[in-house]
């Protein structure tokens, strides 16, 4: 048997902090569904198991509600099996009732109750849908006693945090780490954890098909699962479905050479136009290098899909040359010296030091502007 395991689509998730790129990122999440559908068709996977959090919240707009359903409808040969997660948990008149009222595609199967569902003649699906945002009980308990015909492949589908595993799952919906073993499952398809992660021999988090945050899965993917027969080990293969790469990187800078190196390395990264990067810069630069860094970051920002430099830990210490560029002597030179002293004053608070640094940078830039030099 072959099927695709995916989760955490979180359709409707806002990306307002990405400004004009928001619509692109929202659209990318929908495109990922199509990628999954194409993959299923191409690889002959009759079923796609969506392990919760198809939607980002339980009160989406009607358009948001329908968009993924319509994309799934387009792949009529694929059966999409969906359970509610903590972001889109099921309750009366909730979003799943709204979706049902609007008309579900025939190939989309909602599993809103913990009841065995057939996946053809050889397999049975044991879903554990969430009816609350946060469950204190393990909803996969029932799988232990769920009956299935002899020789049928038993597949669990759940959304939550595996107990005992250092999970950063988003909700307190516990799942026993040995559930697959206890319930005799050939595969336990989990959602909630946005990174692809294997918990046990037959227990996997699929991760999200389109990455949505830094310091998490860089590129979205799904799992292609092959199980030859009941009791046979599951063969799991990851397939990329995400269009955008979310990369987090930290760099130490101390001189112009470091900046050169950083720029070169970043520009060498593949697919810059689909790269979102959080760049944490640390260290200390002189004023010239700092101004140069700002200029280069501007270039990189234009080259990448999104660049979010974090300069909070990057400090500025002017060199003598920097100060002389402000002035050799006189009022501005004295002002620059005062600001430098304040930035280095151990008695000043970090915020005051930072403010003095920034004032110094401004002084430097303004004096360069007044000379007609490029900042």
């Amino acid at each position: 048997m072959r099927f695709i395991h995916t989760a955490d689509w979180q359709i409707g998730k806002p990306f307002r902090n990405f400004g004009e790129k928001e619509s692109v990122l929202r659209q990318a999440r929908l495109s990922a569904i199509e990628a999954i559908g194409r993959l299923a068709q191409a690889e002959g996977a009759a079923h796609v198991l969506v392990a919760g959090d198809l939607y980002d919240n339980e009160a989406p707009s009607q358009k948001t509600l329908l968009e993924p359903l319509e994309r799934m409808r387009n792949f009529s040969a694929v059966a999409w099996h969906v359970i509610p997660g903590n972001h889109d948990h099921h309750r009366g008149n909730g979003l799943w009732d709204r979706a049902a009222t609007l008309g579900l595609p025939p190939n989309v199967h909602l599993h809103l109750t913990p009841e065995p569902a057939s996946l053809g003649e050889n397999a049975v699906l044991l879903p554990a849908p969430l009816r609350r945002k946060s469950e204190v009980n393990d909803l996969t308990d029932w799988m232990d006693s769920a009956a299935s015909a002899a020789g049928q492949i038993r597949i669990g589908l759940a959304h939550g945090s595996v107990q005992g595993f250092d999970s950063a799952g988003e909700a307190n919906n516990p799942i026993a780490a040995d559930r697959a073993k206890r319930a005799g499952l050939d595969y336990l398809a989990l959602g909630d954890w946005h990174r692809t992660l294997q918990i046990g021999p037959a227990t996997w988090y699929a991760g999200t098909p389109e990455a949505d945050r830094f310091n998490s899965q860089e590129v979205g993917q799904v799992l292609m699962v092959d199980i030859a027969a009941a009791g046979a080990p599951a063969k799991v293969t990851a397939h990329r479905t995400g269009a955008y790469r979310w990369l987090s990187q930290a760099e130490d800078l101390s001189n112009a050479t470091d900046i050169d190196s950083l720029e070169a390395r970043l520009r060498a990264l593949p697919d810059l136009t689909s790269l979102l990067m959080r760049l944490d810069l640390r260290g200390t630069l002189d004023l010239t290098a700092r101004a140069d860094l700002a200029r280069r970051l501007g270039g990189l920002e234009a080259a990448m899909f999104w660049l979010a430099p974090n300069l909070a830990d990057l400090h500025v210490r002017p060199t003598l040359a920097d100060l002389e560029k402000i002035d050799f002597d006189g009022v501005l030179r004295e002002a620059a010296e005062k600001l430098r002293q304040q930035a280095e004053n151990p008695a000043a608070s970090p915020a005051e030091q930072r403010r003095a640094e920034e004032a110094l940078v401004q002084l430097y830039l303004l004096t360069r502007d007044s000379r007609g030099e490029a900042a």
Binding site: S61, G94, L332, T367
Partner: protein, 886 residues
């Protein structure tokens, strides 16, 4: 540059062409009356040089000559870098501009405008405004000479450039000033002058955006929470509906109700039948019991008749002994009554003995009292006799206390008269040795002897000498007379007291005091006797009492028998007492015995009466019973009654068996009530369940409607988006706030450093100002502040005078001098800008204006100075080139 000539037409009062020419290199003066057009010419020069020819500014329109439709035509000739130029412009109409150099046109219209500006070193800030730079500073129009020079941006730059050239680039004042300007402009985008976020500025907008988004977010989250609650409520309602609408439960309740109703009906019927049978059984039982009671009553009555008859017989037997006993008790009572009468007689005899003994005792007592009364009478008579004697003696003793005091007064008066006589008399003093034979009134004198001469004194010395010293006659007679009168009063006092002399008078007084003492003692004794009515009355009362006792004694002894002694009386009293004691005991015994016999007799009578009553009562009851149950019918009546009783008891047993049988089949106690209660409960439960289902249905429909309304518009998405937006807005607000703080820090820091360098920056101007200033104010110094502002004037005193407090004339003079210094400073660095003063120095006195002329001429040595004035006479001594309007 140097101005060479000016021509105007259609300009102010110059409707026709007018021209001034002949401007020299140094001081030039155009002296003309008021309204001759001096200020118009000044404005014309500025307009021609600094305004675009195409400008329609109000100032230009104001220049046009009233009533004419001519264009405002102005030509200005000037020399610059050794070449002669002429700029000619027509404003408002036929707008045109032409710049010629050495008679050759080199530019026209806008190009001409701008080439002039380029030559003059000024640049337009915009198409409308032009910063005239140093020209604006040095060309002082009418009425502005009082103002402290405030360099425009370009002028300040020019001044700073000059200063920088002079002091080198080390100060950096101009760069700092320009940077401060940039920083302040940037801050001005964010903040108002008072430091608050500027409306329309980015910070204000960010704050408003944050607040707006926060409000929206809170509203969306509130709506979301409400939706969440509605969904929760809906879940609860649906769960309730499922429970309430469970058909199994409803069917079970219906079945239970039907079964309960059937059981209740059966139970009620069985209960009714049982109640009826029980009533029958009770009725039959009551009949049987009534018959049993009747039989019992007959038997009791028969037994009662028999018992009554037996009792009557017993009563007759009991009455005989009682009669006998009553006879015996009556006899005993008579005997004891007789004995008591004897005892009463004995008692009366004893009473007589007692009375006699009392009489004798009283008589004896009164005789004893008489002795006491006699003794008291004797005492009182003696006291009365002593009192009478004392009173008589007191009457005879007449010397009282007043007489003694009169005597003492006379004696004192006598002593005083003698002392006065002695004091007034001459004194004789003799000192003689012993044995000298000197005598004083016959007495030998040995040593010292002295005497007052109140009467003639004889002194002898030996036998041969006799000296008689006689006091003055008049004095002696007066003293003698006073003494004589005094002695007469003393004698009269003694005679009145019956005393021969003073000593006797005092003795008689002592005797009277003794008598008075005795009188007080007698009175004290009388008081001690506590006599209520006085001594005499008491004596009389005692005498009467004694007489009464004597009379009583005589009366009690009429039998003539001698009085018994006290012992005899006591023996008789003792004997009488003993006899009375015995007699009392016997009398008490007799009385008790009488009472006992009477009581026994009474009891016997009562008992006899009781027996008689019983007998009568029995006879009465017996008659009644016999009337109801005659002896001859007794047996028949009893048999009949017993037969009826048997019949009724048989009937009851049948009924009781039937009831017992039915009771076994009937419901238990309370079963009907339980069944009825259960039926009621089930009916109410079914009805309540139906109502609940209806209400739940209505409520669910209502909540579903609310959910549909609240949940269909993407509320969750909106809340999530707003959350992000709020975070972004707050971050942007924080970023801008920090940006403002950075700019403020930069501004403050540069400001502080600039202030520290101010003295250095102002030094060139001060150096240039010094000669001009000393032309007018010798040894004075000017204190300069921010941007060349004049802070004060330091003349001779230790402290500077605040500029604003100086007289208007002095303020104007200093302001003009500072402008001259600025001009000189600019000129020295190669920028040759003329100085134009239009109607300045109007408040200067004659001396001060001469000094100002010196300063102006000092300026004229290096640059062109043009003075426009209406005060021809006052400005005559200014010198320089005289200009004329032609």
């Amino acid at each position: 540059m140097k101005l060479l000539h000016v021509s105007v037409e259609g300009c102010g009062r110059f409707g026709t062409p007018a021209r001034i020419e002949g401007f020299g290199a140094g001081v030039n003066i155009l002296s003309a009356r008021n309204e001759a057009g001096k200020s118009t010419l000044f404005r014309a020069i500025r307009t021609c040089l600094f305004e675009r020819h195409s400008s329609t500014a109000k100032d230009i329109a104001g220049l046009a000559t009233d009533g004419l439709s001519l264009p405002v035509s102005i030509k200005v000739g000037f020399e610059h870098d050794g070449k002669r130029y002429e700029i000619a412009k027509s404003f408002l109409k036929s707008k045109a501009a032409s710049l010629t150099r050495d008679g050759v046109e080199i530019a026209r219209n806008a190009e001409a405008d701008e080439q002039v500006w380029d030559m003059l070193g000024i640049a337009p800030k915009s198409t409308r405004a032009l910063d005239e730079a140093s020209y604006g500073l040095l060309w002082v129009q009418q009425g502005h000479s009082f103002n402290v020079p405030e360099p425009s941006e370009a002028a300040a730059s020019q001044l700073n450039a000059v200063i920088q050239q002079e002091v080198g680039t080390l100060v950096g004042g101009e760069r700092a000033r320009q940077l401060l300007g940039t920083v302040k402009d940037e801050l001005g985008r964010f903040l108002t002058e008072s430091g608050k976020p500027k409306t329309g500025g980015p910070l204000h907008a960010a704050i408003e955006t944050s607040a707006d988004i926060t409000t929206q977010r809170l509203e969306a989250e509130s709506q979301l929470a409400a939706l969440d609650e509605k969904l929760d409520e809906l879940s609860r309602l649906r769960a309730d509906l499922r429970t309430a609408g469970d058909p199994g439960v409803a069917l079970a309740m219906k079945t239970d109700l039907d079964d309960s109703k059937r059981k209740l009906d059966e139970a009620e019927k069985a209960g009714e039948e049982l109640r009826r049978l029980i009533a029958d059984e009770k009725q039959v039982h009551a009949l049987a019991e009534a018959q049993a009671d009747k039989l019992t009553e007959l038997k009791r009555r028969a037994a009662g008749i028999d018992a009554q008859r037996a009792r009557v017989t017993e009563l007759v037997k009991e009455t005989g002994p009682i009669e006998q006993e009553m006879t015996a008790v009556s006899a005993a009572l008579a005997q004891v009554t007789e004995r008591k009468a004897r005892l009463d007689a004995d008692s009366e005899a004893l009473d007589a003995e007692d009375r006699d003994l009392v009489r004798l005792t009283g008589l004896t007592t009164r005789l004893a009292q008489r002795e006491n009364l006699s003794a008291r009478l004797d005492l009182l008579e003696r006291l009365r006799s002593r009192a009478a004697a004392n009173d008589a003696a007191l009457k005879a003793a007449r010397v009282d206390d007043a007489a003694v005091k009169a005597l003492e007064a006379l004696e004192n008066e006598d002593a005083r008269l003698r002392a006065r006589q002695d004091a007034a008399a001459p004194r004789v003093a003799i000192e003689a040795a012993p044995g000298t034979g000197v005598r004083l009134d016959g007495a030998a004198v040995s040593g010292i002897a002295a005497r007052a001469v109140t009467e003639p004194v004889v002194i002898t010395v030996g036998a041969d000498v006799t000296i008689t010293v006689t006091p003055p006659q008049a004095t002696r007679e007066a003293d003698e007379k006073a003494l004589s009168e005094h002695r007469d009063r003393l004698r009269a006092l003694l005679a009145a007291c019956g005393a021969a002399d003073a000593a006797e008078l005092r003795r008689l007084r002592a005797e009277r005091l003794t008598l008075e003492e005795q009188a007080r003692d007698i009175k004290a004794e009388r008081n001690a006797l506590a006599l209520k009515d006085g001594v005499t009355a008491e004596i009389e009362r005692l005498q009467a009492a004694i007489g009464e006792i004597d009379a009583e004694a005589r009366r009690d002894q009429t039998d003539g028998a001698p009085l018994p002694s006290a012992d005899e009386i006591a023996q008789r009293r003792q004997a009488a007492a003993e006899r009375r004691s015995v007699l009392r005991a016997e009398l008490a015994g007799a009385r008790a015995e009488i009472e006992a016999q009477k009581e026994a007799l009474s009891r016997l009578r009562e008992r006899r009466a009781a027996l008689q009553g019983q007998s009568e009562q029995i006879h009465s009851g017996l008659s009644s019973d016999l009337a109801l149950l005659p002896d001859e019918q007794r047996a028949a009546m009893l048999d009949e009654c017993e037969a009826e009783l048997t019949t009724r008891r048989d009937a009851h047993r049948i009924k009781a068996a039937l009831v017992a049988e039915k009771q076994k089949q009937a419901p238990e106690d309370g079963e009907i009530e339980r069944l009825r209660s259960r039926v009621d409960r089930l009916v109410a439960a079914i009805r309540g369940q139906q109502e609940k289902l209806e209400k739940l249905g209505v409520r669910i429909a209502h909540v579903e409607g609310e959910v549909k309304v609240a949940g269909g518009d993407g509320l969750g998405e909106r809340a999530a988006t707003l959350k992000l937006q709020q975070e972004m807005a707050l971050a942007e607000q924080a970023r801008l706030t920090e940006r403002v703080e950075v700019l403020k820090l930069l501004r403050t820091t540069v400001d502080d450093c600039y202030a520290e360098r101010r003295e250095q920056l102002n030094a060139p101007l001060r150096r240039h100002l010094k000669p001009f200033l000393h032309d007018v104010f010798p040894k004075a110094e000017i204190e300069l502040g921010e941007n060349f502002a004049i802070a004060g004037l330091n003349r001779a005193g230790p402290a500077a005078e605040i500029f604003g407090r100086l007289s208007l004339g002095t303020q104007e003079q200093i302001a003009v001098l500072v402008r001259l210094a600025m001009g000189a400073m600019i000129c020295e660095r190669g920028s040759d800008v003329p100085i134009i003063l239009d109607d300045a120095l109007v408040f200067s006195d004659d001396d001060r204006i001469e000094q100002m002329f010196d300063a102006i001429n000092r300026a004229g040595k290096n640059q062109q100075v043009i003075v426009l004035t209406c005060r021809s006479r006052s400005f005559t001594s200014l010198g320089g080139t005289q200009l004329q309007i032609t």
